[in-house]
């Protein structure tokens, strides 16, 4: 516990709690029209008392749009990482535990998938399925799976070689019980570390996909989409890009800070 209490860990964790709280509660507290109400007389106004982050090209309040965008951006990233863990974890454990031919075939495929840049894979899947929020989640989830599977496989391989696994086998434990009781619990710390770091990458990926128009679609709003919309007004209204950009940066920074500390504490390879 003590090792979590570094300044970096505490700041990162506090920021994550605040941002997640905004993601969950903002849509419940803020009336939706605060972010969607268009006022043509208030187009592209710089930050002021009434509009702390300024207004966008349709006269909407950027402050509320950034707060509400947290829900979409975090939701997509979280669901995508959940998908990649749900696929990557069994794949990695089976590969690392079974070894031999199963491992060879699975890892050959995973290695090949790793040759595809994750963003390219996600963009292609999203474009092929047709851009929408569920498809964005599927696309990012699949694109991140090979990386997770690779890392979990390495850890499962390491854990499988431990003396206590050998002892359990000598005691007559079958494969299912072995994986459930001995391998999985010892692989989980690494999974938590990697999931935290992947979450940061997933937020960047969602922003990238939405920025290219192949992620979240209007009228939904996400940070990436806001940055995309701001492109045509950069000369006259740079704040339209800076506010959502800063939101992405702060979230990813918090996840990375906390992820670094988690890794130092939980990852056996870092000790």
């Amino acid at each position: 516990m003590k090792r979590f209490l570094t300044p970096q860990g505490v700041i990162g964790f506090t920021l994550i709690v605040i941002i997640v709280a905004i993601g969950i509660f903002a849509p419940l507290i803020i009336p939706p029209d605060m972010a969607t109400k268009m006022k043509m007389t208030m187009r592209l106004k710089p930050p002021s008392m009434g509009y702390p982050f300024g207004t966008d090209q349709l006269g909407r309040d950027i402050f509320f749009r950034v707060l509400l965008g947290a829900h979409t951006s975090l939701g997509i990233a979280g669901a995508a990482v959940a998908i990649s863990v749900l696929i990557g974890l069994p794949l990695g454990i089976i590969s690392g535990y079974a070894r031999g031919a199963v491992d060879n075939v699975l890892m050959r495929i995973v290695d090949t998938l790793l040759s595809f840049p994750a963003l390219l894979l996600a963009l292609t899947i999203s474009a092929m399925l047709g851009p929408s929020i569920p498809n964005t989640i599927i696309a990012i989830g699949i694109a991140f799976t090979p990386f997770l599977a690779r890392i979990i496989r390495g850890e499962a391989l390491r854990v499988s070689a431990m003396p206590y696994v050998e002892a359990a086998r000598a005691a007559g434990t079958n494969d299912a019980a072995m994986i459930w009781r001995h391998i999985l619990p010892n692989v989980l710390p690494l999974v938590i570390v990697q999931a935290t770091i992947s979450l940061a990458f997933a937020i960047l990926a969602e922003a990238g996909l939405s920025f290219l128009g192949l992620g979240t679609q209007p009228p939904n709003s996400s940070w990436g989409l806001m940055i995309q919309a701001s492109r045509d007004y950069l000369d006259v209204a740079p704040w339209t890009a800076l506010a959502p950009g800063a939101a992405v940066a702060l979230t990813v920074l918090a996840l990375n800070m906390f992820g670094d500390v988690l890794r130092d504490v939980l990852d056996p390879r870092a000790q």
Binding site: L120, T124, G208, L212, A249, V252
Partner: protein
Amino acid sequence: MTYLLNRLFSIALTLWLISVITFAVTSVLPGDVAMMILGTQSNPTALAGLRQQLGLNDPLVAQYGRWIGGMLTGNFGHSLVFKEPIADLMAQKMKASALIVVMSMAIALICAVPLGVWAAVHRKKWQDTVSSSAALFGISLPDFFWGIVLILLFARMLGWFPSSGFTDPSVDFLGAIRHAFLPSLALGLGLMAHLTRVTRSTMTGILNQEFIRVARAKGLSEQSVVWSYGLRNAVGPIMTVAGLQVGYLFGSIIVVETLFNYTGMGWITYQALLNRDVPLIQTSVFFIAAVVMLTNFVVDLLYLLVDPRIRMQ
């Protein structure tokens, strides 16, 4: 020699798998190429005719065979959007992207290695905090956001560099560099942050080792202990990570090239995806994955040259 043969076989197998995965992702998913060419308002007879002509009614295996057969004989087909042979497009666009990938890698390495070494040498002092915080901040910003900031600063406010476009280096070399500079910097900043972190952790590990203590005990200057004893041992790991980052770069160029209207691989892949130009999507996705895989192979070979200890095994 056996090693090399093994690797060559493995490359051929991986290239084949890349082609299967690319084809699977782009063909199994819904979407009608014939309708994309003729438009949604076209008459059913014309659609059926074109489907027949393009061989879209054939089984998937036959379609795959035709695609891979064409690739092996250098016939990549025609782009539906650009109405040009895909082979010509790939050759031009790869060249454009190679320029920014190399430039961004150079920018990243030139800055990251000294910064990372500096942080490792002054571990847990203010220098380390400054360098590590900057790196952490750097990896947290999306590269298209860097791109926007760079456009605002260097193109709009200062006017030092053009904010969009591409110039062929063989026509106007200086112009090409000027056009490629901002996109390369946008890509390079995130990469630099990542490589700084890698250099720092690798160097920290190395500087704690026995042979460094011996070198210091021999009375060598700190300069030569760090740079010629320490860094020399860090080159391999840094190079490997830099090689792996080429994959990341080829993903990021899609966003950055689009932002800067820089007509390279990323830009054309995006155009293909937006217009669902399936033949062009298949070939460019295949090429990007193949280039990433081959780069990592070359890095592995370079590792052998840099680190004789690996060769012995």
